[in-house]
């Protein structure tokens, strides 16, 4: 049904996908933390900067 | 006398468009910046092509290269000269006056018409010269002229809209080509196909019809989008 190489390909693919998803989820946490610090709600994205320097 | 206290009647849409079109030509004829840029650019590339390639029309297989080269010359000449029309308004500070007095659709049509006439003039000068020097025969001159007009309309309309955008940018130099070429390339491909067919006498066919369709789509979109570009 399939050649041996495909098994390796699938394994490498899964490792890459897993790494990508872990990275993205950590990035999402980081974004969420910064949004909380700034008192940033998604609907606030239009309002003027709450912490203008 | 009795009408002295009334506000002046607004001119009709056509009159306003033609007035703006006339203004473009009067301004251009005063300095001749765009005309000399476009003309010299076209002439230089024409000389370069002719000098390096020679009379390519003499050999059958080289003939298809001629319309491609012609359209490249026209495209780059347009890119060299046409963006001026809006950049100049922004630089001279006349853009704000125009925003106050002119309707956007009239302004757009006036400018596009001006760009189109400049391109037609360029095509009328360059094309016979080009085919004469390269000795490429054109089997169907009428079809070829139709391809030139169809390509010219799209080039003028697309350039006008992109020029209005580029004029508001800080870095203008290469931006016009970067923005305009992806939009104009499909049209260029169609115009080249139609020109090739007309030059070889195969009949313009689908490419020419699609070029007209592209012109129509681009014009409608530009008319709808231009007010958004023009009014901050």
């Amino acid at each position: 049904m399939f050649q041996d190489g495909n098994l390796w390909l699938a394994a490498v693919n899964l490792i890459i996908w897993t790494g990508l998803f872990l990275y993205l989820m950590s990035l999402e946490r980081k974004i969420g933390r910064r949004e909380d610090e700034l008192g940033f709600e998604p609907s606030d994205a239009d309002s003027p900067p709450p912490t203008a320097e | 006398m009795s009408g002295a206290g009334l506000p002046p009647r607004a001119p009709s849409w056509t009159a306003e468009t033609l007035a703006l079109f006339g203004k473009e030509w009067r301004c251009e004829l005063r300095t001749r910046t765009a005309l000399s840029t476009i003309g010299l650019f076209a002439f230089t590339t024409l000389v370069t092509v002719s000098l390096t390639l020679g009379p390519i029309g003499a050999t059958e297989e080289m003939r298809p290269a001629a319309p491609v080269l012609l359209w490249l010359i026209l495209l780059f000449a347009a890119a060299a000269g046409l963006p001026r029309s809006f950049v100049q308004e922004e630089e001279a500070g006349t853009a704000d006056t125009l925003r106050l007095v002119a309707r956007p659709s009239c302004l757009f049509c006036g400018k596009a018409l001006y760009n189109f006439t400049v391109l037609l003039l360029l095509e009328a000068l360059v094309t016979p010269l080009f085919f004469g020097i390269l000795r490429v025969p054109v089997a169907d001159p009428l079809g070829f002229a139709a391809a030139l007009v169809a390509g010219g309309i799209g080039l003028a309309v697309g350039s006008t809209l992109i020029a209005a955008m580029v004029a508001q940018a800080r870095v203008r130099g290469p931006l016009f080509a970067v923005l305009a070429f992806p939009i104009l390339l499909p049209l260029l491909k169609l115009a080249v196909d139609a020109s090739l067919a007309a030059a070889s006498g195969a009949g313009a066919g689908a490419a020419l019809e699609l070029a007209w369709l592209y012109d129509a789509m681009l014009t409608i979109a530009a008319l709808m989008l231009f007010p958004l570009v023009w009014h901050p």
Binding site: M1, F2, Q3, G5, N6, L7, L9, A10, N13, L14, W17, T18, F21, L24, M25, L27, E28, I31, R34, E35, L38, F40, P42, A45, D46, P49, P50, T51, A52 | L161, M165, Q168, A169, R170, V171, R172, L175, V178, L179, F181, P182, I183, L185, P186, K189, D193, A206, A207, L210, Y214, M217, L218, I220, A221, A222, L225, L228, V229, P232
Partner: protein, 222 residues
């Protein structure tokens, strides 16, 4: 959204990967030097979803741009900007996977196949979109001009994607459903499209939130 949903997406994409590489029968009807039913054809489970997703991405970016022009709310402009950036990544990956497969199957990375022409123009166009954003300083002008350009792109797009491929030359790309293939192949490709589209919207939302944060906090993610 919860992480459970993320892991479900991971499971979905992993499932498509495993099904495509290990379980699916080989698609038939491919001309070229690699033969009629090559193992290399399994790249369709990545290539086709990438291409379709990039089209969805640019369509979504045009919708967000139109929304911005309508409402003038910066978050819609951020959404369009993020959509173009992420869409461009999908677009480049679709081009690369297509090129690699074309080299294996037909013997050339690039041969100006109509669909290759379309995708090359799309990359040029959205590259131009990003240069336009870089060239305008005033944020409102930038958002307005970029919005106009993205909407303009979708006037040209039907021409590129639907009319040109059918009129200019012959394509080595099969018409949808044109190749002789098992129904299961189609289902895995469709599942791949669903998975990658969901991935696109996740990536786009992350990028949009970063862009929104950057407008208030210049140091973020720099």
């Amino acid at each position: 959204m919860s992480n459970a949903l993320r892991w479900f997406l991971w499971l979905w994409i992993a499932g498509v990967t495993v099904a495509g590489l290990l379980a699916a029968p080989l698609a038939q009807g491919f001309a070229g030097r690699a033969g009629d039913a090559p193992e290399s054809s399994r790249i369709v489970y990545f290539h086709v979803p990438l291409a379709v997703t990039s089209f969805v991405a640019f369509l979504a970016a045009a919708v967000w741009s139109a929304l911005y022009l309508w409402t003038r709310r910066p978050r819609h402009d951020d959404a369009a900007h993020a959509g173009v950036e992420v869409g461009l990544v999908f677009c480049v990956l679709a081009t690369v996977t297509g090129g690699v497969w074309a080299e294996v199957q037909w013997g050339a990375f690039w041969n100006w196949d109509p669909r290759q022409t379309s995708i090359a123009l799309a990359i040029l166009f959205y590259g131009g979109y990003l240069s336009l954003r870089g060239a305008v300083e005033d944020p409102d002008t930038r958002a307005r001009l970029a919005g106009v350009y993205a909407v303009l792109g979708f006037v040209v797009a039907p021409f590129l994607f639907f009319i040109m491929p059918r009129t200019v030359g012959t394509s080595l790309h099969p018409e949808p459903g044109g190749a002789r293939m098992d129904a299961s192949i189609l289902w895995i490709v469709l599942a791949g499209i669903a998975g990658q589209t969901a991935l696109f919207f996740w990536l786009q939302s992350l990028r949009r939130r970063i862009l929104s944060l950057r407008r208030t906090d210049l140091r973020f993610g720099a």
